[in-house]
C-alpha cells in the first residue's frame, strides 16, 4: 500500500529544547491513525512539520508522495490545534474564502457549505459573523473548512478539545465518515480513550520520540494487565491494608473507582486473592490494559504514575491519590 506520509529520522529543535528527536513514521493511505502523547510530547510540532509549516532541522519527509506538503496543499485538510477564524467575517464568507484558497469554484463551494452546515447542525449560522458563534460552533466551522475540498489526507490536531459529549460524538462520526470515504486521517490527542474509541492504529509520542506504533488490537494483546479494579464492601473502610499487599504498587482512586497498580511481573490472580484476604471487597477484577496503561508502562517502566495517568485521561481535578489511612 502506498504511504500517505513517510518520515525518516526527523529532528526539530527550538533553541535548546529538542521537540522531536529521530522520528520515523510511515502512515499508509486510507488508515485512521491516532497520534497520542501527553502535552508537550511533540505531537503538534510533528504535525506542523508534516504540514510544512515548520521545517525539520534534519531528516526526510514525504507527504502524499511529494517532498513537501506545500506541493499538495489542496489535497490536504488541516485543523490546527490553535483555532481561529476571521472574527468580523461572516461564516459564509469565511468558508468561501477557505474553499477558494483550496481551489474550489465559488458555485461548488456554495453547495458544499450549505450541505456541511446542515450536517454539523448549524444550518442558520451562515449570515452570522464568526465572532457571534460559541467556541464549539467555531470549531465545527473550522472542521468544515478542513474537509470542504474533500481532501485525501486529513490532519486534525486535538479535534475534540472543548467540545461537549454530544458534539464529540458528532465529530467522531464525521471523522469516521471521512475515513470510510477513503481519506487518510491522522488526529492527535492527549486524551487516550478518545483515540481508543476512534482509531484502529495508534502512534505514541513521548518526549519527542515515537514509543509505540501499532494497531489497537495488537497493543492490547501484547500487554499484560497492569491494574486491578476493586470496590471495598464497606465504602467507609480504610483501604490502607491493601497498600501492604505483596504485588501491589500503590492504590489510587481515579474518577471514583479504586485501582491497585500491579507491580511489574506480579501474577494478577495471586494478587487479587491476597487483596481479598486483606480487606473484604464487593468487587475485584483484573483490568484490561487501556492505551494509557500501555503508555504509562512504556514511559515509566511499569511503575504506575497516577498524576501522569490523570493527565492522559483528560481530567485534572477529578482524580485523587488516596492517602494511606484516609
Amino acid at each position: 500500500m502506498p504511504s500517505a506520509i513517510a518520515i525518516e529520522g526527523v529532528r526539530k529543535t527550538f533553541g535548546e529544547k529538542v521537540a522531536v528527536e529521530g522520528l520515523d513514521l510511515t502512515i499508509p493511505e486510507g488508515r485512521l491513525t491516532g497520534l497520542i502523547g501527553p502535552n508537550g510530547a511533540g505531537k503538534t510540532t510533528s504535525i506542523r512539520m508534516i504540514m510544512s509549516i515548520l521545517f525539520p532541522d534534519s531528516g526526510r519527509l514525504e507527504v502524499l508522495g511529494r517532498r513537501s506538503a506545500l506541493e499538495s496543499k489542496d489535497r490536504i485538510g488541516y485543523l490546527p490545534e490553535e483555532r481561529g477564524v476571521y472574527k468580523k467575517m461572516k461564516v459564509w464568507g469565511f468558508l468561501q474564502h477557505m474553499a477558494a484558497l483550496k481551489g474550489i469554484k465559488p458555485d461548488e463551494a456554495r453547495t458544499r457549505i450549505g450541505h456541511w452546515l446542515e450536517k454539523v447542525q448549524l444550518p442558520d449560522v451562515g449570515p452570522k459573523k464568526c465572532e457571534e458563534l460559541s467556541k464549539g460552533m467555531q470549531q465545527k466551522i473550522q472542521f468544515i473548512a478542513s474537509v470542504i475540498h474533500e481532501p485525501d489526507l486529513l490532519i486534525l490536531d486535538e479535534p475534540f478539545s472543548g467540545l461537549d459529549p454530544v458534539n464529540m460524538r458528532l465529530l467522531r462520526e464525521l471523522i469516521r465518515e471521512q475515513h470510510d470515504r477513503g481519506t487518510t486521517v491522522i488526529f492527535s490527542t492527549h486524551v487516550m480513550h478518545q483515540a481508543e474509541q476512534v482509531c484502529d492504529h495508534i502512534v505514541m509520542i513521548h518526549q519527542g520520540q515515537k514509543v509505540l506504533d501499532d494497531s489497537i488490537a495488537s497493543i492490547r494483546a501484547g500487554h499484560e494487565p497492569t491494574a486491578i479494579v476493586f470496590e471495598p464492601l464497606d465504602p467507609q473502610a480504610s483501604i490502607e491494608p491493601l497498600e501492604r499487599v505483596e504485588g501491589v504498587q500503590g492504590v489510587a482512586q481515579v474518577e471514583g473507582i479504586y485501582e491497585a497498580a500491579l507491580a511489574h511481573g506480579a501474577n494478577g490472580g495471586e494478587v487479587m486473592r491476597r487483596m481479598l484476604d486483606a480487606i473484604p471487597l464487593a468487587r475485584v477484577e483484573l483490568r484490561r490494559p487501556t492505551l494509557e496503561d500501555v503508555f504509562i508502562e512504556i514511559v515509566s517502566g511499569g511503575t504506575g504514575d497516577a498524576a501522569l495517568r490523570a493527565e492522559l485521561r483528560g481530567g485534572s481535578g477529578n482524580s485523587e491519590t488516596v492517602e494511606a489511612g484516609a
Binding site: 506542523r48 504540514m51 510544512s52 509549516i53 515548520l54 506545500l70 496543499k73 489542496d74 490536504i76 485538510g77 488541516y78 490546527p80 490553535e82 483555532r83 481561529g84 477564524v85 476571521y86 472574527k87 468580523k88 467575517m89 474564502h97 477557505m98 477558494a100 484558497l101 483550496k102 481551489g103 473550522q142 473548512a145 478542513s146
Partner: protein
C-alpha cells in the same frame, strides 16, 4: 499565484469595505476638501473684522507744536475715528451699502462696527512712569480698563535733532489686546507723525506715495513660450504635497497591513491559512492587497489635489507626467519597503501594543524627510539631499521632494535612486520573509530586534 491573488483580494476588500476606512479615508477628507473654501472665506472674514473694543488711546505730545497746524493730537484723533477701515468706523449707517432686500444688514452695520477708540490728550509734562502704573493697576483690577494704549511722542519727532536723526516714539499697550487693534492705534500715531514730517520738509505726500509705489506684473515664461501669471509660490507647495501624498498612501496601507497581520496571528486564524497557502503566498498576498489600498488612496488624493490645483490655475506646468510617474515609481518602492517591515513586525508580535517599540525605526524613516522638507526643497541638489537620495528606506521620500522642487534632479539621478531604492526594497522583503515565516507561529514574549535578527539567521 492564484492563491496569492485571493489573499490579496480579501485583504483589499476586507480593508476597504469597512465603515472605519470609508469614513476615515474618504468621507472625512471629502468633508475637509469641501469645507476648505468655506474655512478660507471665514479666515478672510475674521482678518477683516477685529473684535469690538471700546477705550482710549492716551497721547503725550512733547513736540510742542512744531507745526503750523498746532500739535499732533488733533490729526491722531481724527485718524482714530475715521481712517483705517472697519474697526474704527463710527457707528453710522452707510446708505450706499445697505441691501434693500435685507434691511437687517443696516442694523448689522450699526452694531457690528461699533468699535470706538477715543483720543485722550495728556499734558506734555505728564510723568510716563505713573501713567504706565495707572494702566497696570486698571488692568489688574478689571482685566479691561479704559485705556488701551499710551503713546509718548518725544521732542524732535517731527523736525529731527538737527542732524537728520529722529527719536523713537514710545508706545505702550494693555496686555491681551487684539494685534489688529494695536496695529491701528500705532498706525494712527506713526502716520500722523510721518505726514507732519513731510509737511515740515515741504514735501507733497501724495506725490511721494506715487513715486515710491513701483508696481510690477510678475509673469513666468512656460515651455510653450507663453507668459503666465507667476506660480513661484507653488514651488514649496508641490514638494510638500508630494511628500504628504506619499506618506499618507504608504502608511495607510502599511498600518492596515500591520493591524491585519497581528489580528490574524492573535486570533490564530493564521495556521488555518497556512494549511492552504505558504507563508510567502500569505505575506505577498497581504502586501499586494494593501498596496491596492495605498494606490487607491494615492490616485484618489492626488486626483483631488490636481483638480483643486487646476481650479486655482496652478495645475498646468506644475503637474507633469514626469512628476506623476516619479510619484508612482517611488510609491511602489517606499510601499514595498515599509510594508515588508510592517508585515514582519506584525508577524513577530502578539499584540498591536507590542508593535510600538519595533515601529520606532520605521517612524523615524518618515520623520527624517518630514523634518528636512524645507532644506531639501529649497536646495534640492545639496549634498544632504544627494546622500539621502541613495539611502534606503528614506530615499523614495527624499526623491519625491526633489522631483517636486523647482530644480528637479537629472534623470540619471532619479533612475539610479530608484534602482538603489529597489535594492533596499528587496532587502526589506528578504528580511521580512524570514521574520514573517518564523514569527507567525511564535507566541509569548514580545520580541526585540535581537530576536528578529536571530530568526533571520535561523530561517
Amino acid at each position: 499565484m492564484n492563491k496569492l491573488m485571493k489573499i490579496a483580494v480579501r485583504e483589499f476588500s476586507s480593508t476597504v469595505l469597512t465603515k472605519g476606512f470609508i469614513i476615515g479615508a474618504i468621507v472625512i477628507p471629502a468633508i475637509i476638501a469641501a469645507a476648505m473654501p468655506l474655512v478660507i472665506r471665514l479666515i478672510q472674514k475674521a482678518e477683516e473684522a477685529a473684535p469690538i473694543v471700546d477705550g482710549t488711546l492716551a497721547v503725550i505730545d512733547r513736540t510742542g507744536g512744531d507745526l503750523t497746524g498746532g500739535d499732533l493730537t488733533g490729526p491722531i484723533g481724527e485718524r482714530l475715528s475715521h481712517e483705517d477701515g472697519s474697526v474704527f468706523e463710527p457707528g453710522g449707517i452707510d446708505p450706499e451699502t445697505i441691501d434693500p432686500e435685507d434691511p437687517m444688514s443696516a442694523i448689522g452695520q450699526v452694531t457690528g462696527a461699533r468699535s470706538t477708540i477715543n483720543l485722550e490728550v495728556l499734558d506734555s509734562a505728564t510723568d510716563v512712569e505713573s501713567e504706565r502704573d495707572a494702566m497696570r493697576e486698571a488692568y489688574r483690577e478689571g482685566m479691561t480698563g479704559e485705556r488701551l494704549g499710551l503713546a509718548v511722542i518725544p521732542e524732535g519727532s517731527v523736525l529731527g535733532d538737527g542732524e537728520g536723526e529722529f527719536p523713537q516714539v514710545e508706545f505702550y499697550h494693555r496686555r491681551k489686546l487684539d494685534d489688529r487693534v494695536i496695529g491701528k492705534m500705532r498706525a494712527a500715531v506713526t502716520r500722523t507723525i510721518r505726514d507732519a514730517r513731510f509737511e515740515a520738509a515741504n514735501l507733497d505726500r501724495d506725490r511721494i506715495d506715487a513715486i515710491s509705489d513701483v508696481s510690477t506684473q510678475t509673469q513666468e515664461i512656460s515651455e510653450t513660450g507663453e507668459a503666465e501669471d507667476s506660480k513661484a509660490a507653488a514651488g514649496i507647495i508641490v514638494p510638500v504635497a508630494m511628500l504628504l501624498l506619499l506618506i499618507v498612501s504608504v502608511m495607510t496601507g502599511g498600518q492596515y497591513l500591520l493591524t491585519t497581520t497581528v489580528e490574524e496571528k492573535n486570533s490564530r486564524v493564521v495556521e488555518v491559512l497556512l494549511s492552504a497557502v505558504s507563508p510567502m503566498e500569505l505575506m505577498f498576498g497581504k502586501i499586494l492587497g494593501q498596496m491596492g489600498v495605498g494606490l487607491a488612496l494615492l490616485v484618489m488624493y492626488s486626483g483631488v489635489t490636481i483638480i483643486v490645483a487646476s481650479v486655482f490655475g496652478l495645475a498646468s506646468g506644475l503637474v507633469t507626467p514626469e512628476l506623476i510617474t516619479g510619484l508612482i515609481v517611488f510609491f511602489l518602492i517606499a510601499y514595498v519597503t515599509m510594508a515588508s517591515l510592517l508585515a514582519a513586525i506584525g508577524a513577530a508580535v502578539n499584540e498591536l501594543r507590542e508593535a510600538q517599540s519595533l515601529m520606532t525605526p520605521v517612524m523615524m524613516t518618515l520623520m527624517i524627510p518630514y523634518f528636512l522638507i524645507f532644506p531639501i526643497s529649497r536646495d534640492p541638489n545639496s549634498t544632504l539631499a544627494l546622500v539621502l537620495s541613495y539611502l534606503p528606506p528614506v530615499s523614495p521620500f527624499v526623491m519625491v521632494i526633489r522631483l517636486g522642487s523647482t530644480q528637479p534632479p537629472p534623470l540619471w539621478q532619479t533612475a539610479s535612486a530608484a534602482v538603489v531604492g529597489a535594492i533596499g526594497a528587496y532587502a526589506a522583503v528578504w528580511f521580512a520573509a524570514k521574520v514573517f515565516r518564523i514569527g507567525l507561529l511564535q507566541f509569548g514574549k514580545a520580541p526585540d530586534f535581537k530576536t528578529l535578527v536571530r530568526w533571520v539567521k535561523m530561517a
